[in-house]
């Protein structure tokens, strides 16, 4: 309680008594030097003086604080302010309410300062406590006087509504703070109900505060009836927003968890270590296929479902973990009542007491991993069979990284290219690819990266370790990651070199067959013509002889018959030569030194060459080797040399020039002379035919070039001719180069 005394009253009191001692409160007068001039008895009770000396200064008391000194000085020095009131906490933790006023003497001068103090410590603490309590609980109160229709809100209630203390609510306003809709309807209903039937309420609702913030509140209300009539409604109002939101959140999480465990079919169990009670969630029962009614809460319950083979290791493992007080994870099988086996994964947490020494309970989760286990088994089976297929396939197979490195190769592939698996993995696919084929599948790879195609097949050539070329049918398939991006490639290589070789062999056989067929046809024609012409002559001549009577003419006919027989014989010999060429040339091919052959033939006809004053220029390297049948080669060269001599120009000395060229696997021999030449425009088609001569020479028989052509073709070569009449003839002969290894 504070007693307010006006300045004039104090002055009146002071004057007659000249003493303050009787004042019923703590009061003192000090001079401007803070010496206490007078004081009341209560003052001395409140602020006991030290018992030494007469001059007592305010400064000696522990009540004087800086704040108080400032106030005293303010009042003493300021002409305008003559009075001040202040609440100060003293050094001994007491609260005082100070009144400070000027003391004026009769002349009107300031003679000192009047101080009065009231100890307000108790009140201060009360307020503090209340404030604290209110602050902590956030409980406000309200009251509705139905007689005056006035609504009273405590400051906390206002505070909860985000209102200032001076707000005066009306009944309507009060209701309107509730959130429109079900909250507002509910409070209105509850209040109405209470007023009519006297029923109290206690509910949780949302209000929208003056600052437009949604807040959960707990509203309680009661009614007071007098003579059956409600006169007053009152209650409390509490901010439960934080708690409520927490609760809601908690409920939400719990609910979610409930749904999650239910839909994920995760069974939750809890084993109380102290009372040995086992708890199973509903999901546990469906997981173990056990009727909930049969559950006895005994710890052995779980054991009954356990697969006999897993019992031992399960209990061992659990014991181990419990001994170490560790959480554990375990997989085991159970047998459900219908006899089926389920794979279960269990995760358990150990809960310890506060001393962390004793296990209070075990909490765990069980779920069915049968599918996973089966998938795993299936997967490993598939992987195994794939691996087997990969390794044992007769088709060369490889996994290739996107960069073209071999990731894995099978033995078929290794066999095809002659490298070991280790050697292969060190290298790249491009390193053994024929350079001309490197870009063969670039376009396909691009499309693969774009996802347009997932596989392609091309024929590519690769190098065997020994340097030979392998032609392979390459099929590349993509493998994707889970993300859909390319992971790597699977390549299948089928070595088709043997097939290609076979195909080429077939082709060449076909070609040979075709040529032989042509030769045969040609030969048939020759036989039909040449042999028949002789036969005709013989028939004709014998007919003449038969009819001839003149002995002279008869003798003449007989000579002719003789000649005809000889011609027939000669023709048969020629034909025999031709037949002999084509039959077994292939297997008699050998590596023959061309230079030596030319030299030898030249030497054999050196007499004729000298006789004709012929000059030979031989530009052939001494080590040039060709595939040939030596006898054929000699025959060919001999024929060309003698032809050159036979058909030399009469206008000039014969010059024969031999040149060569190597082109791939072929050796080309150029046989040039400066003789009469051949009119190719006319004879192109017949030059290598049988019995064709184009020169009027006595030795021309028309058999030489025919045999030459047959011989050279039998050795897989060819012969063509170029010529300018009366200038030169150039025979171009192609032979197969002899391989270096064979000799």
């Amino acid at each position: 309680m504070f007693i307010f005394i006006k300045k004039k009253q104090i002055l009146k009191l002071i004057s007659p008594l000249h003493s303050l001692s009787a004042f019923p409160f703590a009061i003192a007068i000090i001079d401007l030097n803070f010496h206490i001039k007078d004081y009341s008895e209560i003052w001395i009770e409140e602020f006991p003086f030290p018992k030494n000396g007469t001059e007592i200064s305010l400064k000696n008391l522990n009540i004087l604080s800086e704040k108080l000194i400032k106030c005293i000085n303010d009042v003493a020095s300021n002409h305008v302010i003559s009075y001040k009131k202040i609440e100060i906490k003293s050094k001994n933790n007491n609260w005082y309410s100070w009144n400070i006023a000027k003391a004026i003497d009769e002349e009107g001068n300031i003679s000192g300062i009047i101080l009065s103090a009231e100890n307000i410590t108790y009140q201060k603490r009360e307020i503090q406590l209340l404030n604290n309590a209110v602050q902590v609980a956030q409980i406000g109160s309200w009251e509705l006087d139905l007689l005056s229709n006035k609504l009273y809100w405590s400051s906390i209630t206002k505070y909860i509504h985000d209102l200032t203390d001076d707000f005066i609510p009306s009944l309507e306003q009060g209701i309107n703070f509730y959130k429109p809709g079900k909250h507002r309807e509910k409070i209105a209903k509850l209040v109405n109900n209470a007023i009519t039937s006297g029923k109290p309420w206690d509910t949780e609702l949302i209000i929208i505060t003056a600052k437009n913030v949604e807040k959960w509140v707990r509203a309680k209300g009661e009614v007071e009836f007098v003579n059956g009539k409600c006169i007053r409604v009152f209650g409390t109002f509490q901010d439960i927003n934080k708690q409520k939101l927490k609760d809601l959140k908690y409920n939400e999480v719990t609910n979610r968890l409930k749904i999650a465990t239910k839909t994920a079919r995760i069974g939750i169990w809890e084993y109380n270590y102290e009372n040995k009670h086992l708890f199973w969630s509903n999901e546990m029962f469906s997981l173990y296929n056990i009727d909930k009614q049969k559950f006895n809460g005994h710890s052995s319950f779980w054991n009954q479902s356990l697969h006999p083979d897993d019992k031992e290791f399960c209990s061992k493992k659990i014991e181990e973990c419990l001994a170490k007080k560790e959480d554990f994870e375990i997989e085991f099988r159970i047998i459900v009542p219908n006899g089926k086996i389920r794979h279960i994964k269990s995760v358990a947490c150990v809960e310890l007491d506060s001393s962390e020494n004793n296990i209070v309970k075990l909490v765990g989760a069980n779920w069915d991993i049968s599918e996973l286990i089966h998938s795993k088994l299936q997967l490993s089976k598939t992987e195994e069979s794939l691996q087997q297929a990969f390794e044992n396939s007769s088709v060369g197979m490889a996994l290739i990284s996107l960069e073209g490195n071999w990731i894995n190769v099978n033995s078929s592939l290794c066999n095809s290219v002659g490298y070991s698996k280790e050697e292969m993995i060190q290298t790249k696919i491009t390193n053994i690819t024929h350079p001309d084929d490197l870009s063969k599948d670039t376009e396909f790879l691009k499309q693969m990266h774009l996802g347009e195609i997932s596989n392609y097949t091309v024929n590519k050539r690769f190098y065997h370790k020994n340097g030979s070329i392998i032609t392979a049918n390459l099929t590349v398939t993509t493998v994707k990651k889970v993300s859909g991006h390319l992971s790597h490639f699977i390549a299948q290589l089928i070595d088709i070199s043997p097939m290609i070789a076979a195909e080429n062999k077939t082709k060449s056989l076909l070609e040979i067959t075709k040529n032989q067929n042509n030769s045969l046809l040609n030969f048939a024609h020759i036989v039909s013509h040449n042999l028949r012409s002789h036969a005709t002559n013989l028939l004709m001549l014998t007919n003449f002889i038969k009819d001839e009577t003149d002995p002279n003419e008869k003798a003449h006919l007989e000579v002719m018959l003789q000649n005809a027989s000889e011609s027939l014989n000669e023709t048969v010999h020629h034909l025999n030569d031709v037949v002999h060429i084509s039959t077994n040339a292939e297997e008699n091919l050998r590596s023959v030194n061309l230079f030596n052959s030319v030299k030898r033939v030249k030497k054999n006809i050196s007499a004729i060459l000298e006789e004709n004053n012929a000059k030979c220029v031989i530009n052939i390297p001494k080590n040039l080797k060709i595939k040939a049948v030596p006898a054929y080669l000699d025959s060919i060269l001999l024929n060309l040399f003698t032809n050159s001599v036979k058909y030399k120009s009469e206008k000039r000395d014969l010059v024969i020039e031999l040149n060569f060229k190597i082109k791939n696997d072929d050796v080309i021999l150029y046989f040039l002379d400066n003789g009469q030449g051949i009119d190719l425009e006319r004879h192109q088609n017949k030059i290598f035919g049988m019995y064709k001569t184009f020169h009027q020479h006595k030795d021309a028989k028309g058999i030489g070039l025919f045999i030459t052509k047959n011989q050279i073709e039998a050795m897989n070569g060819s012969i063509t001719v170029e010529s300018i009449v009366d200038k030169e003839t150039l025979f171009i002969l192609t032979f197969k180069k002899a391989e270096q290894i064979k000799n």
Binding site: N530, T536, N537, L541, N563, A564, R682, T693
Partner: protein, 135 residues
């Protein structure tokens, strides 16, 4: 009296020429017979005849297979000789070949009147006479 004045044989086989000449004589086919051993010789001979203002033989027996210039080439060159009344010259191909390709080829050439397989018999010559008489 002979059927024609001049007949020409172009063949490199002397026995064949001998035989044909004998047959022609026996049939009294021609007053004169000229023989050439190959196509080139014949072309040159024909040119000489024309230069001397003489008539070409009205019947020519032409062999196919000959050295230097064969029967086909002769035919090619023959049609190129200027101012020759080809209708007047009847060319008969002689061949020992029974190859149908040769026969077909011969019949495709307009200058060729017919194709005979050797040996030419009297019967063949009578056919020629009959053929030419009806024209």
């Amino acid at each position: 009296m002979s059927f024609v004045d001049n007949t020409c044989i172009i063949d490199d086989d002397p026995i064949c020429v001998f035989g044909l000449k004998r047959t022609l004589k026996e049939a009294d086919f021609s007053k004169n017979i000229i023989a050439y051993t190959n196509g080139l010789e014949a072309i040159n001979g024909f040119k000489t005849l024309l230069n001397q203002g003489e008539k070409l033989p009205s019947i020519v027996f032409l062999d196919i297979n000959m050295p230097i210039m064969d029967g086909w080439d002769f035919l090619e060159d023959f049609v190129k000789i200027p101012n020759v009344n080809r209708d007047y010259v009847h060319i008969y191909i002689l061949s020992s070949s029974v190859d149908s390709r040769d026969i077909i080829k011969a019949k495709e050439i307009s200058a060729v009147s017919n194709y005979f397989i050797k040996p030419v018999t009297k019967l063949d010559l009578h056919k020629v006479i009959a053929e030419l008489s009806t024209q």
